[in-house]
């Protein structure tokens, strides 16, 4: 962050830094993969107890109501300390949706466990035939008495095999438009009839999975909003969710890894590599400045144009990791992170993982089409 910090912000940064120093376990530092729940959730809960798990949430629900600058300070310090990636579907997606559209009972039941780290959520949007064309989804939900009975198949479900609950879009009727007849529903993944199969990614991890529904009975009280009106709910907060996806945390984390590798290899002695590193440092500050600007507009009640931020954030991470790969040199393709002193040097893992960034949360091509048609007013539907 380029702006000078207020006394309170400086104090906050100092607090975060020393607390992380004392509380972040060494075995969780500078990981390249998101560790499984039994490893990561105790850390999640520790952050929650400290009050720092939900910077953007209202205080009433256990959040910090942090200013955008405080959010960035938190991210910078997390990245610096090598703090691991946390599951965020609850905090960034379903939490804010329930706050706006949930019933009181739904809020009371689901929001506290998200903040406490007692429940992990996953998102059931994509299907084999409905990726970028999400509204083409075909997982069906039939009404039977006080329940919906769900049959179908979700895929690319991040952390689906680790989650206890899923928020999903299902088809309850066939309307005039394919966006009609979609219902937003919460599914307890311990319900009979659900099969989950992890999918190994090109990065070698099993970050996502596919989920099969075979006559899965979901009580109607788990419907968010009205039956057949789920598309509006799913899209109402999309731009705000995208704002979270576009936070500079991942770029800062990648830049930290790049700096570690440079330090270990002396790469900055090489003027060509030094220039490449400086370029991505500039790009990272550009992203932070953009994030602050959009988040401040959002906080002031202005419209959030977050498609551009999603593109910028994900492509910045990818550029940083391209440079990291150049610095890795002959070790570019080395599979696993290698220990170096009390740290680990990553060569290929984050680079491979970062392929997903420009694909998920609405591919960057979809975002570019949205910018062209919705923001810039170019017609033709962009197809």
């Amino acid at each position: 962050m380029l702006r000078p910090e207020s006394a309170a912000e400086r104090r906050f940064r100092g607090e975060v830094r020393s607390w992380l120093e004392e509380n972040l376990p060494p075995e969780l530092r500078y990981l390249t993969f998101r560790p499984p729940p039994e490893v990561i959730m105790p850390w999640y809960r520790r952050l929650s107890q400290r009050g720092w798990i939900a910077p953007h949430w209202p205080r009433a629900w256990g959040g910090m109501e942090a200013s955008p600058a405080e959010e960035v300070i938190l991210m910078e310090e997390m990245a610096r300390a090598g703090a691991p990636d946390l599951p965020s579907q609850g905090l960034n997606h379903i939490g804010p949706i329930l706050m706006r559209f949930g019933t009181d009972a739904q809020k009371q039941r689901h929001l506290p466990p998200i903040v406490a780290g007692d429940v992990v959520w996953c998102q059931g949007y994509s299907e084999p035939g409905a990726g970028s064309d999400l509204a083409a989804l075909r997982t069906r939900a039939e009404r039977r008495g006080d329940s919906l009975v769900i049959n179908g198949h979700k895929i690319w479900t991040t952390w689906g095999h680790h989650a206890q609950w899923m928020y999903a879009l299902v088809r309850t009727s066939v309307g005039a438009s394919k966006r009609d007849g979609i219902t937003f529903v919460l599914i307890d993944l311990s319900t009979p009839g659900i099969t989950r199969r992890p999918i190994k990614t090109i990065a070698g991890d099993d970050e996502f999975c596919e989920v099969f529904f075979d006559d899965v009975v979901v009580p109607l009280e788990h419907v968010v909003g009205e039956i057949d009106r789920g598309w509006e709910i799913a899209t109402a907060l999309l731009s705000e969710e995208r704002l979270r996806v576009a936070a500079p945390l991942q770029a800062l984390r990648a830049l930290t890894r790049l700096h570690m590798l440079c330090e270990a290899t002396g790469a900055l002695e090489d003027p060509v590599l030094a220039a490449r590193v400086a370029e991505v440092e500039i790009e990272t500050e550009t992203l932070i400045a953009s994030y602050l600007s959009v988040a401040e507009t959002h906080a002031a009640g202005g419209a959030v144009d977050s498609s551009y931020l999603k593109i910028l954030a994900t492509e910045t991470v990818q550029r940083i990791l391209d440079v990291l790969q150049e610095v890795a040199g002959e070790r570019r393709a080395v599979k696993r992170a290698l220990p170096s002193g009390d740290k680990r040097l990553d060569f290929s893992e984050m680079f491979l993982q970062a392929r997903r960034l420009s694909i998920y949360a609405g591919s960057n091509e979809i975002q570019r089409t949205l910018i062209a048609t919705r923001v810039l007013g170019l017609g033709g539907g962009g197809k």
């Binding site: 962050m1 380029l2 702006r3 000078p4 940064r13 830094r17 910078e76 310090e77 610096r80 700096h259 003027p271 030094a274 220039a275 400086a278 370029e279 440092e281 500039i282 790009e283 500050e285 550009t286 992203l287 932070i288 400045a289 953009s290 602050l292 600007s293 401040e296 507009t297 002031a300 202005g302 498609s307 551009y308 593109i311 910028l312 091509e365 975002q367 570019r368 089409t369 910018i371 062209a372 048609t373 923001v375 810039l376 007013g377 170019l378 017609g379 033709g380 539907g381 962009g382 197809k383």
Partner: protein, 351 residues
């Protein structure tokens, strides 16, 4: 970040004045009038307070900060105002901080009698001067040369009209000028500042200029982009507006990302002014703005097709001005190099 009421006034008056003065038509006319300088308009700009944006109110300036200066420059960049203003605003900032020795020069700048340009020089110790690539060289130019002088630092004011000054002006594609300047004995050039305070004021003035050029480039690329969007909505091929083609839409969206993010960086960098990150931030802003402005204006020509390659169409004026402004005080590469040099202590600050 949105502009406050005062800021809105600056922007509106800048847009009104530059449009009233002729906008793009004037930019083209001035290009064709090379190497003439429009002293009348320059005085009007001075009357509006533009050369004194960053000069304290006690000394007759507007007493505003770099953020306001950048908002002004962004606005004048939109119509490719030939008077780049960033050097004069930086010069005003510098002369104000140099105090009494510079008071007379400052008054002349605020009146619009001179166009002052801070120019970094490696060494001012010898009386003979030979300078290459001096920008904005006109009869009324006043160079503020900053450089080391026998182990210390000096700022000297050298007027283009001073006896013994010879110059060879070189024409640039946008109608701006670079000059090769010789002076066998510059010892008569007035010393307007010396010592460490003058050095830091001079360095800060160069950073004001970097930020100012960056802001001008933001306005420039945004206006070029707006012109291009208009064209894409009206130009039809295959029976439809070319803006409906996805191949073009995606390139357009990339320009939009480039412009918005560069603008965010430039105004965030303004907030780092007068902090320990000033040098890095202003170089970063200049690097990003130089690169983005060239990317965007080249893309704008491509999106116009053949008409964009004609001199008759205005879109080419944006690329040419972007070339000239990007080159000032180090283009992308020069500015990235400066970021490399300033990394060490900044990474400490950033943790």
């Amino acid at each position: 970040m949105t502009a406050s009421g005062d800021e809105q006034l600056i922007v509106e008056s800048a847009l009104r004045f530059t449009e009233g003065a002729g906008g793009l038509r004037r930019a083209r006319a001035r290009r064709d009038a090379w190497p003439d300088f429009d002293g009348a308009v320059w005085r009007q700009m001075a009357d509006l307070g533009w050369t004194g944006v960053c000069v304290s109110a006690e000394r007759g300036g507007l007493g505003l900060g770099v953020r306001e200066a950048c908002l002004l420059l962004e606005a004048v960049g939109r119509s490719l105002t030939p008077e780049l203003l960033a050097p004069a605003i930086a010069a005003g900032y510098l002369l104000d901080r140099l105090g009494e020795d510079a008071a007379e020069m400052l008054a002349a700048l605020l009146e619009g009698d001179v166009a002052a340009v801070p120019v970094p020089v490696a060494d001012l110790s010898s009386p003979a001067l030979h300078l290459e690539n001096v920008p904005d060289w006109y009869d009324c130019t006043l160079l503020l040369l900053g450089g080391s002088y026998r182990g210390s630092f000096r700022v000297r004011a050298l007027s283009a009209a001073a006896p013994g000054v010879r110059a060879q002006p070189i024409e640039c594609v946008d109608g701006s000028v670079l000059a090769e300047v010789h002076c066998d004995d510059a010892s008569h050039a007035r010393v307007v500042g010396s010592g460490d305070a003058a050095r830091s004021a001079f360095d800060a003035a160069l950073d004001v200029m970097r930020l100012g050029y960056a802001a001008y480039l933001v306005g420039l690329m945004d206006a070029a982009f707006a012109m291009t969007l208009e064209y894409m909505k009206t130009r039809r091929q295959f029976g439809v507006p070319i803006g409906s083609f996805q191949a073009l839409q995606h390139r357009t969206a990339s320009c939009y990302v480039d412009i918005r993010s560069t603008r965010a960086l430039v105004f965030e960098a303004c907030r780092a002014f007068a902090t320990e990150r000033q040098a890095w931030a202003s170089a970063a802003a200049k690097a990003r703005a130089s690169a983005a402005a060239l990317r965007v204006t080249k893309e704008c020509i491509q999106l116009h097709g053949a008409i964009g390659f004609t001199d008759e169409h205005d879109i080419g004026l944006y690329l040419k001005r972007a070339m000239a402004v990007a080159a000032r005080l180090g283009g992308e590469v020069g500015s990235v190099r400066r970021c490399v040099e300033h990394r060490a202590h900044d990474s400490e600050a950033a943790g």
